[in-house]
Structures are given as structure tokens and as C-alpha cells.
Amino acid sequence: MKRDSRGKFQEWILSFPSLFWLALFFLVPTLFVFVFALRPASPYGGMGQGWTLENLRRLADPSYLIVAWRTLWISALTTAGCLLLAVPVGYHLARISSRWRNFVLMLVIIPFWTNFLIRIFAWKVLLHPEGLIKHLLMSLGLAGPQTTLLYHPAAVVLVSIYSFLPFTILPIYAASDKFDFQLLDAARDLGARSFQAFYKIFLPGIRRGLFTAVLFVFIPSLGSYVIPDIVGGPAGEMIGNKIAQRVFVDRNLPQASALSVVLILSVLAPLVAVLILQRKKERPEIF
């Protein structure tokens, strides 16, 4: 018993710095955002006196709903696209010789050496009406002179997939590396076709990696601001852009906070639900 409480105490001491950091710079500001959402806006860009639900009521505005829906499906498509590309990469990374593996992992990481903004602007150049991709598609007859690549939701999805792909490849590779590939032989031996072995044995085998990858892409993607701002245009606006507009254009912090609250809750609620469900499922197995 004594030993136990002492262990607990040491645990607290060790985790105190990180807990303190998170509380001060994450939890408290988040609470501020929740509080601001319930304050009226002052015409000078600050906070008015008293409390109001006006900011939350205004969220029902159809223009917000359209953007919210777009944010959701762009994020979903980005996540799906990243997974589709990352799973085969992770699978093969785990199977090739270690020399090649290090080389390919290097290739995955190299883009981080260039500033994120510069890479997004590079996409803007590529997708530009006078850009390389447009010319290429036109010479192949796949695009007419009127086709727009830039300032389109598809451009946001494309560039988002490009940006988030490394964050999906790495956890999926880590999970694949721990996967026992003899299980695929066993599945084949028991009559499964290659594809059946892949989705009945391999995918469940790396499910933790997949879960991490989904979190790493879907959540940041919901809050995307820079990518839709640079390559999305008005047709590709996401919630992040709306929040930025309320802050920088309208100087309406409470309204921006209300939008942020919706974003935070929409990420947090499903996550908490999943965690609770998992704990409920695991409990009987512990005893």
C-alpha cells in the first residue's frame, strides 16, 4: 500500500511539468474560447459586457452550414485519400530490405525540410491556369482552356492529402513493422485469396496504426486554414477560414470563438465516445 502511494506520488512529480504546460497553454486558452463565445462583441473589436447566446444562434446561418458541411467532406476525403495511399506504402515499407526502407523513409521525411507555406505556394504555382499541371492535362486532352484547377475544393483535398500523407505513412508503417507477415501465409494456406488475407488479417492487424493515422489527418484537416486560404478560394472555404475572417475582417472575437467551440466539440465528442466505448468493451477481459 505504502509502496503504491509512493509510486503514485512519483508519477505525479514526473508528469507535473507536462501537465502544467498543457493546462497553462492549452486548457486555459480553450476555456477562454468557451467563455468568449458567450460574450457580446464590442464594436471596437474587444469583448462587450454581459452574457449572450447571440453568437451561437448566428451559427445556424446557412452560409455557415454550407462551409461546415464542406469542411467535413473535405476532411473525410483527405483522410480516405491519405489512408488509400499510406496503407500500401506502409505494407511494402515493412517488407523491403532495411537499406531500401531507410532510403524510402528518408524520402517521406525530406519534404519537412522545406517550409510548409513554401510548399503550399509551390502547389499554387503548379495548379495555376498557366501552370505545369494545367499544360500537361491540356496536352493530354484531359482539360480544356476553361478548366480551373486552382480555387476549387478538389485543389484543397489534393494539397491536404499531399501535406498530411507523411503523418499517415509513419504510424501505418510502425504498425506494419510489428505485424507478423507469416499470418498472411497462414490465411492464404487456409484458402483466402491475397486480397481477402489483406483485409481480413492485415488491416485488423494494423488497426491501431490506422486509428492513429485517422486522428493525425482528420482532426488537423477539420481545422485547416492555410491550405484552403491559399489554394481553395471562396469555393473551397473551410471553417478555419470563417474563423479567421471573423477575427481579422470583422474583428468579432466572440463570433470566432463560437465557431471554434463548434469545431472543438465536433472533434472531442466522437473521440470521447470512442474512448468510453473501448473501455466498456475491454473491462470484462481484464478480470
Partner: protein, 388 residues
Amino acid sequence: MSEFLEFHNVSKYFGTIKAVDDVSLEIKKGEFFSLLGPSGCGKTTMLRLAAGFENPDRGRILLDGEDITDLPPNKRKVNTIFQSYALFPHLSVWDNIAFGLVIAKRPKAEIYTAVEEMLNLIRMTGEADKKPDLLSGGQKQRVAIARALINKPRVLLLDEPLAALDLKLRQRMQIELDMIHDQVGITFLYVTHDQGEAMSLSDRIAVMDSGHIEQVGIPAEIYETPRTSFVAAFIGDTNFLEGEVSELVNDEYCRLKIAGIQGIVCFNDKSMKPGSPVFLSIRPEKVHISRDRPEEESKRNIMPAVVEDMIYLGSTTKYWVRTGALRIQILRQHFRFFLDEKPIRWNDDVWIWWHADDGFMLDRYREVDESLIAVPPQKVGEPEESPG
């Protein structure tokens, strides 16, 4: 019994390594057949070729007369037990066993009865809902067997299935495997490096070395009449004697000259002519040792020797004796213990003898196989008479 699983001139190369080199082999229906050899001899590659995980570079593989060489693993009516069991960790015992039938889209009721039947066979009805992580080694092994057998394979392939178990469990699983083989009556192709396992379980054994099959036969044949020095030394222990035929006694026997010793009688089943070189293999337990000179007999080779080393093993004692330039290993069973009998000690002069039929002529001898033979331990069992 007819040929059931056949390998015809099968070769498999990995780069420049010849894992399996022009091997032909026929396994009969219902047989418990073992591939025995040291690691890297190609036995596991043979198994993987039969399962379809590897494709041969040359040759054909036939199952019940049908050419299966180009069939993928999922189209072959064979199932494998992996050394690491390869149970699916995210599925329960029940789902693991049901896997093959679920993939084959069999009716639910049929799957249910078949799985319950298998759980009964391996006596694990109580563990059906457990995940493989929670099972012991022996239980995992039994689930792996059930998962394979439920598909009613024509041949069950077993890749060192007992290697990961401890000794006691291994012995129990040996009996269990034997029982299951009798019960289901299908052909077993069993890969192992453990000669005891192969001897006790198999109907027939193929001894493999460096991609070749050295000898195929029932366990007694392999042990008593090894064709090559490798088989003789890999299965049990032996003595190699190099000599030359000096004269023929009659149609069946000849006399040999070995390391300067004349007149050693030997069964001449290879019909060797005088002057031809021979290599004899004599099992240690076939050589007798005594303080007293035994009676002369026409087919008995008797010679004096000096005890160089000995190990007491309980039921037996192992002696290394020297006679002329020869060192011979002898295994003696203790039938009776006499307190008043003077035991044989280090440096004692003794008589050793063996029957002419017990020295077996090898077809092929390689010096490197000498390394497989047990040598006396160094620094253990120093003669008592020596100072210190």
C-alpha cells in the same frame, strides 16, 4: 497404398544457394512422412513448395495425380501448421478454427458443428472465446492443428511444430500428434531437425542435407543401414572405419584391412572386390567391451584396446577406447549391477568385439561428417592414476 504427394526433379534456388536441388520424392497416402535434416538442409523449403508459398525453379509437384505446381496456396488441398503457430491474434480461438470454412463460405450451421467437433478433438471447448494471447504454448499448438484439420486437407504439412515447446510438453504433444494422425487418417508431411521426434513418429523418413535427399526409408532402415556417412552420423552416434578389402571369405563376407589391423570380417552386401576401399559405420552399442577375452567365433572381430575416456550415463556408460590407430566409441547397457565386479576404469586394458553383420558399408563418405559424431569431453574424466 499409392503415391499421393510427389516431387519430380524439383529444384529451388535462392540466388546462388541451392535450397532444394533436383529432389524426387513420393509420399504415400495416409503416411506419416518426415523430412529430417539440420537447419539449412532444404527441408522447410520442400514444405513451402508443397504448400505453394514458393514456386520451384524446376520440376513438378503432384497431389493425388494432379499437377499442383502452378496452383496458389489457397487453391491447394493442403494445410500447414507453422512453427510459430501463426494464429490470428485479433480473432478468438473459435474464429481462428472457423477461418477456413468462413472463407469458403460454408453454411453457418455446418461451420458451427465442425468447429465444435474440432474443439472436442483438441479438448478446448472451454477456451473457445479466448484470444490466442491468453493460451499456453501447447494450447496454441492444438488450435493451430484444429484450424488446419477443419478444412479436411489431403495432406497436413507440419513445420517443426514442437520446436517451440519445452521438453515435457513436446513429449506429450508427440503422443497427441500420433493420436490425431491415427484418428483423422490423413497424410502428414512433417519437417523436423530432431531425429528422436522423426524416429518415434514417422512411418518413413527422408534424411536431407544441403538440398539433397540422402536416404529414404522406415526409421529402422535409416538407423541400421545408413547409406552415407551423413545419415550414419546425423541419426544417432557411430564409428567410421576406413579400410580396404583384402580377401573374400565367400559370397557374403569379406576380410578387411583397417588402419593396419588385418582380417576384420565384414558382411559384403555391396559385393566389393579385393583392393577396393570401404568405409564402415558401426553403431557404438553394437561394439562390446569386457575385461575378459571373449570366445573366438568365425564372424566375431575381437581386438585388444585401452580405455581412453568414459562417461557414466545411468542406464548406459559410454567408452572411448583406442586400438592401434583407431579410436572407437562404445555404448554399454547395464543389465545388472554387481558390487563385487571390478568396473572398467581409465587406462584399463580391455577386449572389444563386434559381429561381422554389425559393421555396415557406406555408399559415400565425407570427412566433414565426422564433426557430427560425439567426441569425449575435454578435461573431464582425467585418469585417476595421473598426478594432481
